[in-house]
Each structure stands twice: as structure tokens, then as C-alpha cells.
């Protein structure tokens, strides 16, 4: 417990508690539409937080995180549909498989000094590989898609993740909070210090006795395994999976936009970014709906321009400057 609150100011704790309390109470006040928006936001906050372990902490840019989402989704969905395995059990093999795939990618790249942008290319290549592979993987529907049975559930079946949006909201909310706490603790652990050192200067990190290869691998495997849990939610919330959508590069980019806009390497960046981005996108959708415009691509152009603006004018992201405004800027990074 001491470690948990170490270096966090009282003011920050109060604001944090307030923030989570509002989120916890939100389903009591919002309508169904807003609830779905909130689920989307928290989903991106969670996935962004997981991605941030690799990029924000260890400095390894992954542009293929849709791969881990997809693996988590397909593995648990297939186990549930084919063998009736509860997703709560299915998530174990899902995490193991995603982690193993992450390990393979990491091994290929880090063993041979593939880093920076070339590492990013490799991650995209693997995601694309999976996309095309699943397109031809007829056991789980191939390109025609894979569907989970949907019925009207009068009762929430938490065991099989079948139920109301409110149930999903609380699950994603819990995941977001847990991921936040895990990342907070990681930053205060040996691994966290080592990751930041590797991010800032791999040569210096090595000279200080850090096994750079091993800690990069830890980051990739952990990030991949955690991200796959996001895929479980994706599968059981949307109930349909198409390789062209699940593994597509634009899914990977969606995941990383939140943390980039919010602030790479910070704990709140992914959350703030997800709120801003999804909030603005939904606002834009609403405006277009009112104006009667229905054009595909508008949302993505908007995403692109947002990203462009943030990268050009707020290279640190929104959170660091917001943190100053809230008067939380003292000492330790992140929180």
C-alpha cells in the first residue's frame, strides 16, 4: 500500500478518487447511447494503457496492437462457441497465445538489432499476416466473419459475458482501473525503472547492468498479453469478428491515438486521450447527423488532423499541460 501512494500528492488522490467515483456512478445517470460511448472510451483507455507499456515505458513503437486484440477476441470467442468454455477461462489461453506471439516478434526484432521504425514495420507486418491468415482460416469463419450467438438476455450471465451494456461497462471500467494500478506499480518497480532507462538510452542502460534484451521482451510480452484482454471484451460486446476489421492497421492506429494525444509514457495520457478522441469523434458524428451528412472517412480524416495537430503542436500530449493546470505537477512522473 505504501508503494501505491508513494509520491502521490493528496490533492491528486482526491481528484483521482472523485474521477473514478463519477465513472463508477455514470451508468445510473446516462442513457444507453452515452453508455456505449463510455464503454468505447474505456475500451480505448484500457488498450491504450497496455500499448503504453511498450511505447511509453520501454520505448518500443508497436503499430500492430490490433494483432493482440484480434488474438484475444478469436481465441476466447472460438473456445466459447465451439466448446462452451467461459471467456473467464478462455482468457488464459488467449493471454498466453498473445504473449507468445509478442515474444516471437520481440525475439525476431531485438535479437537482430531491429529497432525504432523498423520494429514498428515488423509489428505491422505481423498484424497484416494475421489479417490475411484469419481471412483464410475457415474454422473461425474466414473472411465471412465469426459470430457469437446473440439472444435477449433477461439476466446478466457474468460467467459467459452475456448480458446488458451496464454489465460490460463495469467490466471495462474495472479493467481500466486495474490496468491503471498495474502501470502505476510497474513504474515504481525495478522493471519500470529499467524500461524508462532503456527508452531514454539503451547504451547507457546496458552499461548500468540492465539486460536490455530481456526487459524489452518483458515489455512486449506483458503488453501483448494485457492487450488481448481488450480483445475478449471486443468479441463479447460486438458479437461479430471480421479479420478485415479486427486486424486492420486502422484498428492499431486507433489504439495508439489515445495515448499519443493524451501523453505518451504518462499514466493518465491514455485515459485523457480516449476521452478527448472518442468524445470529439462522437460530437462530430452528432453534428453530421444533424446536418444530414453521411460520408465514410470523415471520422478518420478528423482523427488524422487531430493527430497531426497534437504531434506538431503538443509533442508531449495533452496531459502534461493539463496536469500543470490542475496543480498536480510535482515530483514523480506519471501520476
Amino acid at each position: 500500500m505504501k508503494l501505491l501512494f508513494d509520491g502521490v500528492s493528496g490533492r491528486a488522490l482526491i481528484l483521482l478518487a472523485l474521477f473514478f467515483a463519477v465513472l463508477a456512478a455514470a451508468p445510473l445517470f446516462v442513457n444507453d447511447y452515452l453508455l456505449v460511448v463510455l464503454i468505447t472510451i474505456l475500451y480505448f483507455a484500457y488498450a491504450g494503457q497496455c500499448w503504453n507499456i511498450m511505447m511509453g515505458f520501454a520505448g518500443q513503437l508497436s503499430l500492430g496492437h490490433a494483432l493482440y486484440i484480434g488474438l484475444g477476441a478469436y481465441v476466447t470467442a472460438a473456445l466459447y462457441v465451439k466448446f462452451g468454455v467461459s471467456p473467464w477461462i478462455g482468457l488464459v489461453p488467449a493471454m498466453i497465445i498473445a504473449g507468445a506471439v509478442g515474444a516471437v516478434i520481440g525475439f525476431l526484432a531485438f535479437r537482430f538489432g531491429v529497432s525504432g521504425v523498423y520494429f514498428a514495420i515488423l509489428t505491422i507486418a505481423f498484424a497484416e499476416f494475421a489479417r490475411i491468415g484469419f481471412d483464410h482460416f475457415s474454422w473461425v469463419g474466414g473472411a465471412a466473419g465469426y459470430f457469437l450467438p446473440v439472444a435477449n438476455y433477461t439476466q446478466n450471465d457474468l460467467l459467459n459475458l452475456r448480458g446488458s451494456q451496464r454489465m460490460f461497462y463495469y467490466i471495462v471500467f474495472a479493467m481500466t482501473v486495474i490496468a491503471f494500478i498495474i502501470c502505476h506499480l510497474l513504474l515504481r518497480s525495478r522493471a519500470g525503472y529499467y524500461w524508462l532507462a532503456i527508452r531514454e538510452s539503451p547504451e547507457a542502460a546496458e552499461a548500468l547492468g540492465i539486460n536490455v534484451f530481456r526487459y524489452k521482451m518483458y515489455a512486449v510480452v506483458l503488453s501483448a498479453a494485457m492487450t488481448s484482454l481488450g480483445g475478449v471484451i471486443f468479441a463479447f460486446f460486438y458479437n461479430n469478428l471480421f479479420p478485415e476489421q479486427v486486424f486492420h492497421i486502422s484498428r492499431s492506429i486507433e489504439i495508439i491515438l489515445g495515448p499519443i494525444i493524451g501523453g505518451i509514457g504518462t499514466l493518465f495520457g491514455p485515459i485523457v486521450g480516449a476521452f478527448l478522441l472518442t468524445g470529439l469523434a462522437e460530437g462530430l458524428r452528432e453534428v453530421m447527423l444533424r446536418l444530414g451528412i453521411d460520408l465514410p472517412g470523415v471520422k478518420q480524416v478528423f482523427y488524422g488532423l487531430c493527430l497531426l495537430g497534437v504531434v506538431m503542436f503538443l509533442p508531449e500530449g495533452v496531459w502534461p499541460s493539463l496536469k500543470k493546470k490542475l496543480g498536480l505537477d510535482r515530483g514523480n512522473e506519471g501520476s
Binding site: 520505448g59 490475411i132 478518420q300 480524416v301 488532423l305
Partner: protein, 290 residues
């Protein structure tokens, strides 16, 4: 009979590969000199491809005629992009440059989607159905023309870098940035020029590709990835490597598509990428780093 078919497929793959090579050459040149990874490369190529569509549909102009004008338009686009948005990022961290170009790519893909819609479009030229018969092997005429044009552009580019003063100045920048500054080269202008040249390559490649294939707005990222796979396969910073890599990947995709299924063809180029990273990370033509 089967050998003939396989040979036909192989030749067709090599011809397409030459066009891929030209596209990758653009990426290689930009990276080699400006040290920025152009993640919007394939997307820029789709711009060129849609310019072909517009010129063809509106004015009936053949892609071969459009080769020079479209390359010129892409040159201008590349030049301006470097000047306006990429130049302030030259000294920023790698991932920050990368993200900038991801953003540019995202905007291009979806702006094209807004303008042209999601459906695939193509052109039918007067020689679309012509073919050459070389000793019983049938080869599409359009592919031959396109590949020859791509090869000519590549050769001109080699000559430019070897023989002209500007080309040598650009290579000097690539070798030694500070040295280039010291001897009074206008590095900013040369960088913009290089980005322009890289974009012109991809413009030429895109124009030629339209003779061979169709275009959708969403295809951009796939070409970006393909260009990267080729450049890594051929060897970073090696101009001949880009062409050789292009041919190799073109060949692999054609044969892979033939023996398995066309929709899975890019899996084979990824497989090559992984093999290269495992056994020869410096690429086919690349030199081992010290």
C-alpha cells in the same frame, strides 16, 4: 504446358516487381538522405494512381503519357510536404516523425475515400488486351511497357545521383550532414529536393501500376508496407537493393498467388521479410554495420 504457365507467371511477377522496385526506390532515397521514414509512401502513391484515373476519365489520357506530368505533380507535393510539415521534425525523435507521417497517411487515405468512394477503379488502355508471344510464352503488353518505363526512370535516377552536381550534393548531405553544412550546401533545399524526388519516384511507380492493376483508397497502407518490406529485403540505403528487392518480392507474390491463393499472396512477402530479418538483417545488398 505447366512450365510455360509458371514461366508466364514468373515473368509477369518480375515485371510488376520492377514497378514495386521503383516505388521502394523512392522510399530508400528519402530515408537514405533525409533520414525520415516516409510512412505515407504508399498513400502518396495512391494519390498518383487517382490522378491517372482522373486524367483518363476526364481527358482520355493514357497513363504512359501521364508519366511525366504526374511525377512532376508528386515531386511538387513531396517538396512542399518536406518544407511545410516534415522539416520542423528533422531533429525530433524517430517515433515523433513516424507519427507525423502516420497522421498524413490517415488524412490521405480518408480524403481519397471521401472524394472517390470506396470502390475499386481502373483504366482500360488501348493496349490492355495486347500481348507479346515470346517463344510460346504470352506476356501482357501493358506490363512490359510499364516495367520498361519504371526501369528507365530508375536508371535516370541512378544517373542523376552519379553524374549531376545536385545529385552529388544530395549524396554529400546523406554521407555527412554537418560536413555538407560546413561546405555551404543548402541542406534544407536539398532535403526538400530529395523528398520531391522520392515522391516523384512513387508518382511514376503509381502511374505505371495503374496499367497493371486497380486502385482503392484503402490500398495505400498495404503499398507502404510493401515498400518497407522491399527496402528491408534489398538492403537499407542501397539503390540497386531496392530494385532487386522489388523484383524478388514481385516474383514471390506472383508465384505464391499462383500456387496458393491470390488473396494470400502478401503473406509470402512477409515470410521473406521474417527470413531476411533472421538470416541477413542488413538485407541482400546491404553492408554489415560495424
Amino acid at each position: 504446358m505447366t512450365t510455360d504457365v509458371i514461366l508466364k507467371i514468373a515473368i509477369s511477377g518480375v515485371l510488376t516487381g520492377l514497378i514495386y522496385g521503383l516505388m521502394a526506390l523512392g522510399l530508400s532515397v528519402i530515408f537514405g538522405v533525409v533520414r525520415v521514414v516516409n510512412f505515407a509512401h504508399g498513400e502518396m502513391m495512391t494519390i498518383a494512381m487517382y490522378l491517372v484515373i482522373v486524367a483518363f476519365n476526364a481527358l482520355g489520357l493514357d497513363p504512359l503519357i501521364m508519366l511525366v506530368p504526374i511525377s512532376a505533380v508528386l515531386f511538387a507535393l513531396g517538396y512542399l510536404m518536406q518544407r511545410a510539415i516534415i522539416n520542423p521534425f528533422i531533429n525530433r525523435p524517430e517515433h515523433s516523425q513516424f507519427m507525423l507521417l502516420v497522421a498524413v497517411a490517415l488524412v490521405i487515405v480518408n480524403a481519397l475515400l471521401l472524394i472517390f468512394g470506396p470502390d475499386s477503379q481502373g483504366v482500360t488502355t488501348s493496349y490492355s488486351f495486347d500481348s507479346f508471344d515470346v517463344g510460346g510464352i504470352i506476356i501482357d503488353a501493358g506490363k512490359v511497357y510499364a516495367a520498361i518505363a519504371a526501369l528507365i526512370v530508375a536508371v535516370l535516377l541512378f544517373a542523376f545521383f552519379r553524374l549531376t552536381l545536385t545529385g552529388k550534393a544530395i549524396r554529400a548531405c546523406a554521407d555527412n550532414y554537418n560536413g555538407a553544412l560546413v561546405v555551404g550546401l543548402n541542406v534544407k533545399r536539398l532535403y526538400a529536393l530529395t523528398f520531391g524526388i522520392g515522391a516523384a519516384c512513387v508518382g511514376a511507380a503509381g502511374t505505371m501500376l495503374m496499367i497493371v492493376t486497380d486502385v482503392t483508397p484503402a490500398i495505400g497502407p498495404a503499398y507502404t508496407l510493401l515498400a518497407f518490406v522491399i527496402v528491408i529485403t534489398g538492403g537499407l540505403g542501397s539503390m540497386p537493393g531496392a530494385i532487386i528487392g522489388g523484383v524478388l518480392i514481385g516474383l514471390t507474390e506472383a508465384l505464391g498467388g499462383f500456387f496458393f491463393t491470390p488473396s494470400a499472396k502478401s503473406m509470402f512477402s512477409f515470410a521473406i521479410l521474417v527470413l531476411i530479418l533472421l538470416f541477413r538483417p542488413q538485407g541482400i545488398m546491404g553492408r554489415k554495420a560495424a
